[in-house]
């Protein structure tokens, strides 16, 4: 009987404490409902609206009709029209498109020759999902012979996978994984930083010294940038040694991008730290950010295939931009100019989050 009474005493105490912690209480309801709404809509393996560019060197009635029909499948969404296949490759390398449609000048003639493919599909093969979708398009019927029936399907399109011709998953996953790992470790480092000092009572002493808020905040960010870069070196090294993941672009450029990304995450962590009252709350908020950073960033699902609302949320996450940088530099030999926009976004993110954290941090106890 006593045993049961003690058991109930513990349970009652747990619920009481849980009820007092309003943020945790909110998370009990918030995490499942928000996450299921978010990911239920976003997680979608039917990839649509892949960004595409077309280089129509034939420019005939037939070729234009062909492109229009490809677009009607809704799998591709033609964003650019260029004049040479080289330009397609350039767009592909910069990560602006996932698929390039190259229509050779002799398209009309090739299309009636059953032994030749009528056009080429240049595909960013790094992501196996995108490659799979492109593969289905290969059997796409040409409009003018759609009336003929009974013929075996002809491969009208020749697929040219770029960057990952062997289609190994690790090649696509490892660059994305860098972002996921750094998101978790970096946000967590600073998310608990201020809260821990508050909990241990150090903060009351510290805010009574000449230390300014900016000094305190920047002092808490900078050491961890170095730690983050060490983590990056480890992942890249293991990726290379164990999974043969290439670094085709410049290592220095990768580090510059990573530094901006790490700073953004650390600043975000500090912002969390000014909101959370306990270390536990800080950890909860970190995980609240981590899940979308995995699922909505393009790490798991092709970004172009997500619905617009999910894409919008994804754009707000540093990891989305960083994955574009790592995949660009590591797999497609993108230059710093190609991914310059993404680096700028991350740097801006870091500045905004740090400013908010400094503004939010109160040097008073009331």
């Amino acid at each position: 009987m006593n045993r049961l009474a003690r058991l109930f005493a513990i349970m009652r105490k747990e619920l009481l404490q849980l009820g007092r912690d309003r943020l945790t209480f909110g998370m009990i309801v918030g995490i499942p409902s928000i996450m299921i709404l978010l990911f239920g809509y976003a997680i979608n393996n039917d990839v649509r609206d892949l960004k595409a560019a077309v280089a129509d060197l034939a420019d005939t009635h037939l070729s234009r009709q062909f492109v229009a029909q490809l677009e009607q499948t809704q799998v591709l969404n033609v964003h650019y029209s260029v004049s040479t296949p080289e330009q397609l490759e350039k767009l592909l390398r910069a990560g602006k498109i996932s698929v390039g449609i190259h229509i050779p000048p002799d398209f009309d003639r090739r299309s009636i020759d059953a032994n030749r493919t009528a056009a080429h599909l240049l595909v960013d093969g790094a992501d196996p999902t995108i490659f799979g979708v492109a593969n289905q398009l290969a059997n796409f019927p040409l409009g003018f012979d759609s009336t003929e029936t009974g013929k075996p399907p002809v491969r009208n399109l020749e697929i040219r996978p770029f960057y990952n011709p062997e289609r190994r998953t690790a090649v696509n996953v490892v660059p994305g994984l860098i972002g996921v790992i750094l998101t978790l470790t970096m946000i967590l480092f600073t998310a608990v930083a201020i809260v821990r000092e508050r909990e241990h009572g150090n903060l009351e002493l510290l805010i009574n010294t000449p230390v300014s808020t900016t000094e305190l905040m920047i002092g808490k960010v900078v050491p961890y940038i170095a730690i983050g870069l060490v983590q990056l070196a480890l992942i890249v090294m293991f990726g290379k040694l164990l999974f043969d993941v290439p670094v085709r672009g410049g290592l220095l450029e990768l580090y510059v991008g990573a530094a901006a990304f790490i700073a953004a995450n650390l600043a975000l962590g500090l912002l969390i730290s000014t909101v959370a009252r306990t270390q536990f709350q800080a950890m909860q908020m970190t995980f609240f950010l981590l899940l979308p950073s995995i699922l909505l960033s393009g790490f798991v699902f092709p970004f172009d295939g997500m619905p617009p609302a999910a894409q919008l949320l994804g754009e707000l996450l540093p990891n989305t931009h960083f994955i574009r940088i790592t995949r660009g530099i590591m797999l497609r030999d993108a230059s710093i100019v190609d991914v310059g926009n993404e680096i700028a976004v991350l740097a801006g993110f870091a500045v905004v989050a740090l400013t908010l954290a400094i503004l939010r941090f109160s040097r008073r106890l009331d």
Binding site: H200, G201, N202, E204, N208, T209, P210, R364, L365, D366
Partner: protein
């Protein structure tokens, strides 16, 4: 500078929602003195100290500390004060020396000065042998000593100490106070809060706080001389029974038992208190030695806090 006054506060008030933590506090703390805040837990000592160093914004009233208005000029004030929080607020996972070095860097000592000052403090505060020990593994008394060492490292003009000795044994407390006296002698003003009577007695001046209100202030001697009470000490065979009898005697303000002795407070307006008490105890068949004695600080505390209406439940 404001001459000989280190802290001056007028009408300082802090409300937390409906609770009035500090109510209309007037304060004049002279320089180079040890000024005590005496009061039970929840009397507003911590809140008052936090307002004086700019950590809390007063609801109303004003204060000037070393000539700086708080909280307005708190940033300019910071390098000139040392603050010791109630809770140990140094880094337990850093060594004694590392903690001191961190504080020295915060106060922008340059390299050579810094190391000289740290060595000096390590010697003065008996940490030479423990310089490499982690602060978290120090005893309660050692932690307080380290906290004081850190608070005075930058030679502040004013020290604010919030119940610095509440977790310290009597011997370490004596040692701690000896250091405070040395600091005051060298010109440092010290504001210290405590709930120990013996500590309050060592202050040059003190203010007694009760439920957010300053109910008395002055030197311990002045306070003892102006209780307005006659203190009657009673030694009875059965002190508990005597206490019950005297508590019901009209005119008696309070009865406090100290071992076999009772201290009975009777307002001075009531004449012949000693005789009345003696007679009352005899009437109940108790033999007792009854004598008039001089007031202790505890009597002062009882007298000034009991004179106020009971707190609302």
């Amino acid at each position: 500078m404001t001459g000989n006054t280190a802290i001056r506060a007028r009408g300082l008030t802090k409300n937390f929602g409906k609770l009035c933590a500090v109510n209309n506090l007037d304060l004049d703390v002279p320089r180079a003195a040890i000024y005590g805040f005496l009061g039970p837990n929840g009397s507003g000592k911590t809140t008052a100290i936090r307002m004086l160093c700019g950590l809390l914004t007063p609801t109303s009233g004003s204060a000037s500390v070393l000539g700086f208005a708080v909280p307005g000029d708190a940033i300019a004030l910071r390098p000139r004060i040392g603050y010791m929080t109630q809770k140990f607020s140094l880094y337990g996972d850093m060594t004694v020396r590392e903690n001191l070095a961190f504080i020295a860097d915060i106060y922008s000592y340059d390299r050579s000065d810094r190391n000289r000052r740290i060595d000096e403090i390590l010697r003065e505060y008996d940490f030479v042998d423990r310089a490499r020990q982690h602060a978290g593994t120090l005893s309660g008394g050692q932690k307080q000593r380290l906290a004081l060492a850190c608070a005075v490292l930058h030679k502040p003009e004013l020290l604010l100490l919030d119940e610095p000795t509440s977790a310290v044994d009597p011997r370490n407390r004596r040692d701690f106070w000896a250091r405070l006296f040395r600091l005051a002698d060298s010109g440092t003003t010290i504001l210290v809060s405590t709930h120990y009577m013996d500590e309050a007695e060592r202050c040059h001046r003190l203010a007694i706080l009760d439920r957010g209100v300053k109910v008395a202030d002055g030197s311990p001697q002045e306070l003892q001389d102006s209780t307005g009470m006659n203190i009657i000490e009673v030694r009875a065979d059965n002190p508990q029974r005597a206490a019950t009898i005297l508590e019901n005697l009209p005119g008696v303000m309070s009865v406090t038992q100290l071992g076999v002795r009772l201290r009975v407070l009777v307002p001075q307006e009531i004449p012949g208190a000693r005789q009345t008490i003696d007679a009352e105890l005899r009437k109940h068949g108790l033999t007792a030695a009854v004598a008039e004695v001089s007031a202790s600080l505890e009597d002062v505390f009882v007298a000034v806090t009991q004179a106020r209406p009971e707190r609302a439940a």
